[in-house]
Amino acid sequence: MTGPLEPPARPLDPAHGRHLLLQMLRVRRLEEKCVELYSAAKIRGFLHVYIGEEAVAAGVLETLEPDDAVLATYREHGHALLRGVPAGAILAEMYGCVEGCCRGRGGSMHLFDAATRFYGGNAIVAGGLPLAVGMALADKMSGRSRATVCFFGEGAVAEGEFHESLNLAALWQLPVLFCCENNLYAMGTALGRSESQTDIALKAAGYEIAAWAVDGMDVLAVEDAARRAVEAVRAGGGPHFLELRTYRFRAHSMFDPERYRDKAEVAQWLERDPIALLRASMEAAGQLSAQEWSQLQADADAEVTAAVGFAETGTLEPVEDLARFVYSERTGDRAGERAGDNGAGAGGRRSRP
């Protein structure tokens, strides 16, 4: 099962194609706005944008059900958005407002949302992998057929937790899908300078995990591979692994002067912009009119504009509440008695756009 997956024979349904285009555009516009807001000092801290990698989140998340769980890294705005976290709650979080999806305590790198089973937002490279293994373990022990999907960069492959997690997941045959977003650089460290074996799918296969390498710039290929993998995971087929070969068009973070890669390389990858690729193929097939394309852009713009408005009018959490949520708030009997998921705990839900 390892190695590049045969591309699917795909008579594309035009409506579905436009949907995927919109999903990628929504992420792109949100991220472009984040960069703008960061430059305007509305957003602070570290900001890592996903521009160029949209096909990965769009293709994978398309295949999930509401009861599946998703974990991601600090480059997770797009994952959160496409998982269903409202853009307004994401931006308000970066503004540090109580209307943010974590009441301003998480920020750009720590987006969480119980309602959509979005579990981060983890800024420790590889830190989310053991969590994903445990969530899948809980599902397996409880006899639930749902999947846990964990996104991480290729930099995480060098961490011990990557290996511990893959071994555990395979040993216990857990329903987890590992999605390695291989954008070739961990900050400034090229994959070849950090790994003795740069074929990551092959490395995963060494743990007896079904692993495929996929063109991460082709959203249809990503969706197809993810669908097969998620279905197998949910059906009890054990862990699966996708190496999604992609590229980030922007710097690692807003502080990165990008001295480690040359302009020609970036330009080459820009030719493979996942949005442009799908748009071009749909236009060539007569599946996307100029008017439909403008409409998709207008829709994405409108959502982001509304989200900015929501964040701009947000309220700051009172400083007197600083110490909340360090320990659970107890109301009479201990909250630990709650059954099922530990979502929607002491914090309660907020109003959202």
Binding site: A69, G100, C101, C102, R103, G104, R105, G106, H110, F112, D113, A114, Y119, G120, G121, N122, I124, G127, L129, P130, L131, A132, V133, G134, M135, A136, L137, A138, D139, M141, S142, T148, G160, E161, E164, S165, N167, L168, L171, R324, F325, V326, Y327, S328, E329, R330, R334, A335, G336, E337, A339, G340, D341, N342, G343, A344, G345, A346, G347, G348
Partner: protein
């Protein structure tokens, strides 16, 4: 009934497994081997390999998996062989278990219980003998327990499992074989408050976990010398029961903290500071401390003993406090 500390711990685990099917035990050698300190001996036969789950040597991986399982609705008990090995899982404990509730704005509880052995006294050398619970007590978001008695060993686990937040339980290695009477109906115990193990009027000896027996011995010797010592067992290192500490010190006007951790930056330093901050004018003498020597714990018996708080050092510190000032 007669019980050892080890058996009391096992009874607590067994009880929790029977009461709540979400509870499972996971760790290195907890199953077939019976637990490296024989705490889980026999539980595999009773509950099966799904719920008494042997893990590979991957502290970060299986502690993180425990945190994930807790996030997804289970009530995992994760055993780490010793606190020294917990350092390999420090990232998961500090950056995930302790932080997720706050980072998520109150959305995600992590109701995990992590048990591990701590402490020296068995000639196991530096890498198996350290007392790092004070470090963990530094971390907001964690609750840190140190059962020193059979009743606490039996009862703290269930209370900890009811807690919606991550709880770390530190079992001192020298306590496992301690035996005594345990009430037949022993059950869950409070984990919010410290306990006065011996009331007294002249000085407060503050301790927890593995040093409680030595402190009680010291109190007995002091009594023979005319000093009536109160012994306060902290039981919980985070959050500290300030009220109990201050109430006792305000009564006796003197305090010595006994802690098997190293003195610099220790939990005893924190306790001493709190007493000074809050009860300075009640004190008749400076707060004393008896801690481990600031060396990696040595193997040789005489050196190891010299490094640890001893009954003699405790009584000496208490006498010094009593003779100082009024």
């Amino acid at each position: 009934m007669k019980s050892s500390y080890r058996e009391a711990l096992r009874a607590g685990i067994r009880d929790a497994m029977l009461r709540d099917e979400r509870v499972f035990l996971m760790g290195e050698d907890v199953g077939s081997y019976g637990g490296s300190f024989a705490v889980s001996l026999g539980l595999l036969e009773e509950f099966g390999p799904d719920r008494i789950r042997d893990t590979p040597l991957s502290e970060s991986g299986f502690v993180g998996a425990g945190i994930g399982a807790a996030l997804a609705g289970m009530r995992p008990i994760v055993e780490i062989m010793t606190v020294n090995f917990s350092l390999l899982a420090l990232d998961q404990i500090v950056n995930n278990a302790a932080s997720l509730l706050h980072m998520s704005g109150g959305q995600f509880n992590v109701p995990i219980v992590i048990r591990m052995t701590t402490g020296a006294g068995r000639q196991l050398g530096a890498q198996h003998s350290h007392s790092l619970e004070g470090w963990f007590a530094h971390i907001p978001g964690l609750r840190i327990l140190a059962p020193a008695t059979l009743a606490d060993a039996r009862g703290m686990l269930w209370t900890a499992l009811q807690d919606p937040d991550p709880v770390l339980i530190f079992e001192h290695g020298s306590l496992y074989n301690v035996a005594g009477e345990l009430d037949d109906d022993a059950g869950a115990v409070d984990i919010d408050t410290a306990a006065v193990r011996r009331p007294g009027t002249d000085i407060t000896l503050i301790t927890y976990g593995g040093t409680l027996p030595a402190v009680l011995d010291a109190a007995g010797q002091l009594e023979a010398g005319g000093i009536d010592a109160e012994v306060l067992d902290l039981r919980t290192l985070r959050p500290l029961d300030d009220a109990a500490i201050l109430a006792s010190v305000r009564k006796t006007h003197r305090a010595v903290v006994v802690d098997e951790g190293w003195r610099s930056g220790s939990i005893s330093a924190e306790i001493s500071a709190r007493i000074t901050e809050n009860a300075f004018y009640d004190l008749d003498a400076p707060v004393g401390r008896v801690c481990s020597a600031e060396v990696p714990i040595p193997y040789a018996k005489h050196l190891e003993l010299a490094a640890l708080p001893s009954v003699d050092r405790i009584t000496a510190a208490a006498r010094q406090a009593v003779s100082a000032g009024g």
